[in-house]
Symmetry: C2
Subunit: 199 residues, 2 copies
DNA sequence: GTCTATATTTGGATAGAC
DNA sequence: GTCTATCCAAATATAGAC
C-alpha cells in the first residue's frame, strides 16, 4: 500500500507485456508530437514490435488510444482518492485536494499532455469526460460542506468547479514549457483558488 | 467605430471571396469535428469550390489553417484593446477586462473551439502563442498597478496571469455543452477571479 | 503471438484544359 | 481563377507463413 501510485503506474512506465509496450509507446509519441504523430507505424516501431502485431491486441488504432486515455483517468482517480482523509475543515481540505490533484498530474507530465490532446481531438466523442472529472464528486461535497458553514460563496457547483480545476491545466502547461513552480508558489496558487471560493 | 468587432469579423461570418470562404469553411469544420476532419476535400467541398482551387490561394493546407488561427488572434486582440479605457481603479478594471475577454470569445464560439484545438495540435509548433496572449500586456500592467497600491497579492506575473486566463476557457467549454451562464454568474466569476488576486 | 508482405483507402498536392 | 483528372505518399488494416 505505502506505495504511492503515480498516473502512469497502471500503464507502467517500464512496460513488460507487448500490450503495455504499445500503450506506453502511443502515450509518449502523442504527448510529445501530437495525436496525429501516433500512427500505427510509429507506435509499433517505438514499442519494438511489428505493425501487424498491434492488431493482435487492439481492434483498431483508435481503440488503442482510447484505452490509453481510460488508463490515465483511472490512475488520476486513484491518486486523488487516497488523499481524501476526513477531519479537516472544508477550506483546509480544498487546498489539500487541489495540491494533491496537481501533484498527481505533475508526476507524469506525458500522461497529462496526452489527456489534453485527446480531449481536444475528435476521439473524445467516443470516450468523453475529462480526466479529472472522476474527482468532481469530492469537490462537490467540499462545496456543500463549506457553504453550509458560510465559508464559501453560494454559487452553482459547476461554476465553482471551473474555478477549482481551471488553474491546474494552465499551471501544468506553463511547467511543461520549462517554468518550474516552487512549493511556495503552488501553495500560493492553492490559497488563491481558495480565495476565489471564499464568501 | 461604434460597430463592435466580433472575433470572426476579420474572417467574415458570411464570406464573399473564395479565399474567405475557404478560411471560414476550415474554421467551422475544425471547430465542430476536430482538426483532423478539416481535410482539403472537406474544406473545398464546404466552401463550394474544387479541391485544386485551394492551392491557388494557399501554398498548403497547413498554411490555410495557420492563417485561420492568425485571424482569430488578431480579432481577439482588437475586440479587447478597444475596451482599455483608463481612469478606473485596478480592481474594477480587472473585472471589466475579464468580462470583455469572455464576451469576445463568446461572440464566436466556433472561433474559440478552433483556437483550442489548434493550440493542442502539432501545428502550434509553427504558429505558437495562445490567442489571448496578445492581451497579456494589459493584464501585466494591471498587476503592477494593483500591487503598488497594495490591492493585489505580490505574486509572479505568470502565476497571476494563469489565475486570470484559466477560467475563461473552462467557462466557455461548459457553455458550448449547453450550459448558458447568466450575466449574474459571469459577474460572480469575474469577482471570484478578482478575489484570487486580492491581497 | 509475432513477423513479412500486401491490400485498401484516403489525403495532400500537381498538371493541364477551359 | 476555377475545374477535372491524376499522381504520389502515407496510413489503416488484413493475410498467411513461421
Amino acid at each position: 500500500m505505502g506505495q504511492r501510485p503515480t498516473i502512469c503506474e497502471p500503464m507502467l512506465t517500464t512496460p513488460t507485456t507487448t500490450r503495455d509496450k504499445l500503450l506506453r509507446a502511443a502515450l509518449e509519441i502523442a504527448a510529445r508530437d501530437g495525436l496525429e504523430a501516433a500512427t500505427t507505424a510509429a507506435i509499433a516501431s517505438a514499442a519494438g514490435v511489428a505493425e501487424g502485431t498491434l492488431y493482435r491486441h487492439f481492434p483498431s488504432k483508435d481503440d488503442l488510444l482510447i484505452e490509453v486515455y481510460r488508463g490515465i483517468k483511472r490512475a488520476v482517480f486513484e491518486a486523488i482518492s487516497d488523499g481524501e482523509a476526513g477531519g479537516e475543515a472544508p477550506d483546509a481540505r480544498l487546498k489539500r485536494v487541489w495540491r494533491k490533484l496537481y501533484e498527481a498530474y505533475r508526476s507524469d507530465a506525458e500522461a497529462f499532455m496526452f489527456g489534453q490532446r485527446f480531449a481536444e481531438s475528435s476521439l473524445s466523442k467516443r470516450e468523453g469526460g475529462a480526466a479529472h472529472e472522476q474527482i468532481a464528486g469530492a469537490v462537490s461535497r467540499l462545496r456543500a460542506a463549506g457553504i453550509e458553514r458560510g465559508l464559501f460563496k453560494d454559487l452553482p457547483g459547476d461554476l465553482l468547479a471551473n474555478l477549482f480545476f481551471a488553474p491546474v491545466g494552465h499551471m501544468l502547461k506553463t511547467e511543461l514549457k520549462g517554468r518550474r513552480w516552487t512549493d511556495a508558489e503552488l501553495d500560493a496558487t492553492a490559497e488563491a483558488v481558495l480565495d476565489s471560493w471564499r464568501a
